[in-house]
Amino acid sequence: MSEILQYLLSGITAGAIYAVIALGFTMLYNATELVNFAQGEFVMLGSLGLFSLLSALGWPLWAAFPAVTLLVGLLGVVLERLAIRPVKKPEPIALIIITVGASIFLRGLAMLVWGKDPHSVPGFGAGAPIRIGGAAIMPQSLWILAVVALLMAGLHLFTKRTLTGKAMEACAINRNGAWILGIPSDRMVLLAFAMSAALGGIGGIIISPITMAAYDMGTMLGLKGFCAAMLGGLGSHWGAAVGGLLLGVLESLGVGLVSSGIKDAIAFLILLVILMARPSGILGQKAATRF
């Protein structure tokens, strides 16, 4: 019995990481209908940035956290201005390929700056694992869950209660219509890029004590985060969280009850089944004909 409990806790640990990355995908998709495949690299930059500020410059965590978030957010703005905005015919497929290119570029850049070796980042609080009925979970996992919950609540309030949030959603639904109503859609897109990059950065910061920081960590995390977002329903904040946790728990149960060799295969198989049965994802509200 304690094994099943441990599989669940392990799944929640991994799932919380996927959820926080899925939130970044969802944020940008909500405002621009764009899937940014450089999202994983923002996570990587958050982790490595935190490592540099904490270890190399000796900053305290409370100062490094907002500084890294801000820097990665700025990078999102730069990406939008230099790579997305100048595109003559902004068709979705062209923009997606551009984000893939940006991700390869950022990874190469990070390898030059931080080297190929992974770096270790200290945990936020006390290091002793918390034991529940024969199973154990690291305090850092609870930190991640708490931050994901806070971010989700914040995003929910932002899109439903503030004018800026509503304007952003209007841009996503119909950019021309929003423009006629006087919403500066260019600025909304820029803001969405900044916010989703910053979300990726925050994700990188809070997961780094568990995953460690390395230049090549973004690819796999980005893919898993994308799967989580699809699973939960792209565009829904709650869907991102549910999708992330579900993916993590399914993977972990797959390892425990079936085989660790085909862990990823199990997760992706379930993703396929869910997408075939319900293409908009578990919590997706909007029609699936967007693509």
């Binding site: 441990q6 640990t13 770096h119 993977e251 149960l253 425990g256 862990k263």
Partner: protein, 386 residues
């Protein structure tokens, strides 16, 4: 008629002599200096192998020339960068053989690049010493192909021997799903029986995975005496941390893939008590005076760090050993490739950086179990185990 033919014969002779001299000219030069080809992944993802290998080869060449070369011939190394790419490696080897006329080739750094050029050197008959680890390079034995890097087989043997001595009978294994992990897993499963060890649980993890508690929980259920993890950073560090998290107190054995201070840094507190096999270079200072490799290792470390300002690793030793083995084999051959090959096969008791080499017709790696030592991490540093 007769005079004309005489004249033309004269001309033809002159032409043949002139052509002959042209043809001979490079050969005469080659007899002056022996040319050795070096092909390493100096740049690209495997540059952590290729860069120290290139530097160590240059260092070994200078050492040989400083003591008067081979039978009075100086040695000249022609080095090309493969970038770890099989296609570029094939091009470089063709160039070395047909254009540079090298008498032997050292490298490349990786197993796939090595396997790509083995057919070429076999067909053309060029002595070839690879710096890659894969056992399939020398098994089955190919006449012209040798290698200096230790194989996984020896690392697994070192672990199992240590376990046998400490009464460990049941193990759980946890391997990464890439070439390194798969090769390690095969060896772990294959050799377990020889040491009376039973693999009770066999798990895998992805190179980018961030949490292995599920796999470890599954292993714990089978109640093994120890866990063996086979991978390269950062996965093994996560495994060490996860074992602490789950409160698992059985010994953790790691592979030589994490035998670097980086692992201790990544795993931190959780690295304490981890046991692993490593080439002796990591613990050269700690070796007993009776170890024949100790003076060779200390000399190599000191020379390398002096010449390149630090950064010594075991990888450079593969090329360093290859060059010195080759120099030994080339003595008295006048640069004849077949004779060099025959001599290489006869070398025994050569004490190098990676171990003591005893080549034979059946063994073109030549290293024994003493190429690895077992170490334990204590107080953030290595401790030699008996």
């Amino acid at each position: 008629m007769k005079r004309r033919s005489m004249k033309s014969i004269c001309w033809m002779t002159a032409l043949v002599v002139a052509l002959g001299m042209l043809w001979c000219a490079p050969t005469v030069f080659a007899a002056e200096a022996y040319k050795i080809g070096g092909i390493f992944a100096v740049t690209g993802p495997a540059s952590f192998l290729g860069d120290p290998e290139k530097k160590s080869l240059e260092m070994a060449v200078d050492e040989i020339n400083a003591r008067g070369g081979i039978d009075g011939h100086p040695v000249e190394a022609v080095i090309y960068d493969t970038e770890g790419d099989p296609t570029k490696t094939v091009l470089a080897v063709n160039k070395l053989i047909s254009k540079d006329n090298v008498v032997a080739i050292i490298g490349p750094s990786r197993t796939p690049t090595t396997l790509a050029v083995v057919p070429i050197v076999e067909r053309l008959g060029v002595p070839f010493i690879s710096c890659a680890a894969g056992i399939q390079i020398v098994e089955p034995v190919k006449p012209w192909v040798f290698k200096t890097a230790q194989s996984d087989v020896l690392a697994v043997a070192a672990i199992y021997k240590h376990m046998q001595k400490h009464g460990i009978k049941k193990v759980g294994i946890l391997t990464v799903t890439n070439a390194f992990g798969v090769s390690g897993r095969d060896q772990l499963l294959q050799q377990a029986g020889n040491y009376g060890i039973q693999v009770v649980s066999e798990q895998a993890f992805g190179a980018g995975d961030t949490d292995m508690t599920a796999q470890l929980t599954k292993i714990r259920k089978e109640e093994p005496d120890a866990v063996i993890c086979w991978g390269t950073n950062p996965g093994p560090a996560v495994v060490a941390k996860n074992m602490r998290q789950l409160g698992m107190t059985i010994p953790l054995y790691q592979s030589h893939g994490v035998a670097s201070p980086k692992f201790i840094e990544l795993a931190g507190e959780a690295a304490e008590g981890v046991r692993l096999p490593t080439g002796k270079i990591l613990v050269a200072d700690l070796l007993p005076e009776s170890d024949p490799q100790k003076p060779v290792l200390l000399q190599y470390i000191a020379d390398y760090n002096k010449r390149y300002g630090g950064g010594v690793s075991g990888f450079g030793g593969y090329a360093y050993d290859a060059m010195h083995l080759l120099a030994k084999a080339m003595e008295g051959t006048g640069g004849d490739k077949a004779k060099i090959r025959d001599n290489l096969e006869k070398i025994s008791g050569h004490v190098g950086v990676s171990g003591t080499f005893n080549f034979s017709e059946k063994d073109h790696n030549g290293l024994g179990e003493d190429a690895f030592v077992m170490v334990e991490i204590r107080n953030g540093t290595w401790k030699l185990l008996q």
